[in-house]
């Protein structure tokens, strides 16, 4: 119905050189349907497995939904009760604060280290560069669960190699130190783990962006007597900015939502020291069986994340408009 009323979108396209003429062999109306057919599977899939669950989740957050309701159904309407309960909980705000600290620490570390590594890669000889890149790729490709297991083994209190090294270089207090017993050290290990896993992607991407800058530009800047710092500021940085922004956003998303590693290492413990929002929502749902509260928590999580990333979406949207 709508398709017949609508003008052919091809004709309607913005004033660009008329690259795409409607094919003479295919009737116009069908040609106009093609894009819709092509995106149909995506839309259908997203409707069934993305939009519907999100809406369902939203619905649950406005219901009384516990173990009984999950098993037998018949959840009652709760209004804003769940939101009121969760927003009035001091623990929740503590978790929110921790999540932001977690995201900030990780993302800053990742971006700084990745930029440095990328700059270093650019200066390395070919063979050394390939070697380091292979190492990075190795770290990058190691599956989360395997990496998590390895880190637990590295930091094991009795036979772990980290304690051995620390004792060896003079920190005797690390003899048999139980890393996973303390909030701060567990948090630190998780940061190391996530940074270790994330730097390769960021570094390789940034490096790839760096080498798109022709070497001659650097040369001429250098012959004109620009200092290294200046070159970095007024040449490298502007070149890196768009891609830097993109990597930054991706890392924010990934770190903010990070769940598997935290859950596998500490389950949010000890004493909640590593409970970030996704872990919190999972605990509330799976341990306390308060699916309604968890749904409210995750709705708030999404809102927070979207707020943080609104600039990113805006830019994406603008870029699209320009195309």
């Amino acid at each position: 119905m709508t398709a017949t009323v609508r003008k052919n979108p091809v004709v309607e396209s913005p004033p660009r050189p008329p690259r795409r003429r409607p094919l003479p062999s295919v009737p116009r109306r069908i040609a106009g349907l093609w894009p819709y057919l092509l995106v149909a599977p995506t839309v259908l899939g997203a409707a069934f497995l993305l939009a519907y669950p999100v809406l369902r989740n939203l619905l649950i957050s406005f219901q009384y939904f516990g173990m009984r309701e999950l098993i037998r159904g018949g959840a009652g309407f709760a209004g804003w009760d769940n939101y009121r309960e969760i927003l009035g909980d001091t623990e929740f705000w503590e978790v929110v604060r921790r999540t932001f600290v977690w995201t900030a620490v990780n993302v800053v570390l990742i971006m700084v280290l990745a930029t440095l590594v990328a700059l270093m890669l650019q200066r390395l000889g070919r063979r050394m560069r390939m070697l380091v890149m292979s190492g990075l790729v190795l770290a990058w490709a190691t599956p989360h669960i395997a990496a998590t297991t390895v880190f637990q083994w590295l930091f094991q209190s009795q036979m772990g190699v980290v304690n051995w090294v620390l004792v060896r270089i003079g920190f005797d207090s690390f003899e048999g130190y139980t890393w996973f017993a303390h909030g701060n050290s567990t948090f630190a290990i998780l940061v190391v783990l996530v940074v270790w896993q994330s730097v390769p992607f960021a570094a390789i991407t940034l490096h790839a962006a760096l080498v798109t800058v022709p070497e001659e530009i650097y040369e001429s800047a250098r012959t004109e007597g620009a200092s290294a710092a200046r070159i970095f500021r007024s040449l490298t940085l502007p070149m890196l900015r768009p891609i830097f922004g993109l990597v930054l956003c991706l890392e924010v998303i990934w770190v903010f939502r990070c769940f598997a590693q935290i859950w596998a290492v500490s389950q949010g413990g000890p004493n909640g020291a590593t409970t970030t929002l996704p872990v919190y929502a999972f605990q509330v749902a799976q341990s306390l069986h308060r699916y309604d509260l968890a749904a409210a928590a995750s709705t708030i999580t999404v809102l927070l994340l979207v707020t943080v990333l609104i600039a990113y979406f805006r830019q994406m949207y603008k870029q699209e408009a320009e195309l």
Binding site: M67, E69, L70, S157, P270, N271, Q286, S287, L288, H289
Partner: protein
Amino acid sequence: MKFRLLACLSALAMTAGLSACGSSDSSGSSGGSEELTVWVMKDSVTDSYLDRFAADFEKRHSGTVLDIQIQEWEGISQKITSALASNDAPDVIEVGNTQVAQYAESGGVRDLTGKVGELKGEDWLPGLAEPGRTDGKQYGIPWYAANRVVVYNKDLFEKADIDAAAIKTRDQWTEASAKLNSGGTQGIYLPGQSWHVLAGFIWDEGGDLAVRSGGTWKGSLHTPEALRGMDFYRELQSHGKGPKDADEAEPPQAEVMGEGNVAQMISAPGVARAAVESNPELEGKLGFFPIPGKSADKPGTVFLGGSDLVIPETSAHPDLAYQVVKALAGDKWQTELATTMSYVPNRASLSGALKGTEGAKEMAEAAPGGRATPNSPQWTAVEANNPIKAYQTRVLTGGDAKSAAKEASESIGKTLNAKSS
């Protein structure tokens, strides 16, 4: 996908029809084979016991196949909940006695009140039968009970010249443990997060994990009595190399004991069997004594653990499932459980079977003083994200006991008072 759905529906309809006409006695269907899924917890009974049971059951009910699946304790509450909520749940599930109430309340478990007489329920151990009952209806059928004893390595005791039978008080116990803890030998392997053991020590001192007054719960780990219990735990724990940040399941303490250089561990007697299984050289070398109390006249208080069996509402073969429960809870397999696993059988009249089994006497000595966890359906939620474990680890790694206990108490109170929706 649509086809799948259809196939599923028709399969469901067929099984419903079958079970409707199947008699409650012997095999329900004489036609194609029916597969029954039974969930049993990790380390609850040995593989060989399960194999023998399955073979016997399949022989008696021709056309039935028992698929016995071992479940991990970690994340079990999520697992059972999603099973109960599914349309095709396992047919029989073993549930810890303190956890039955929660599932029964949720309405996902079959009411078996009508079968109590047939199962000789008047004789059941109260510690198993009562938690299985909600609002006067019986949902959980008692399976077995067990409490913790000290398992010791006879060789190592002999080498250190210590007589296990003479250990009657806490002081004697710590002294012996300290003496054993030398060279490559661990005096006692006590993981930092064995909270059931800690609970026993706290009860000995007259404290509790949580108390209820006027309808609200209060965590009570910070009371002077409870702090004394923790203090003893810390002392005992220091006479070995138990990891301060793990519980007895990780690594399984039976395996640690099996390595042969551990003089003692605290566990149900059945775990000693698993240790022997992992290291056959220990055969006959493991002995038992009750956990010592504060004075010689009374053994230490223990947590009375155990399991019930439940049948989910959505089991596709409720009648056959009941047959499984009936067999497991019946004389033959209960006696077998007592003799091979040293568990306390579900009925008092069967406890004669325990005579002559190693470890059982010691267990029975302590059983009368056995205690349970705070009686609230919310208690499982406390265990699921256990603040007691975190508290223990903090204290053992040098944290301030008082403030850590206070925090843990608050956390327990908060969880217990949360309204279950």
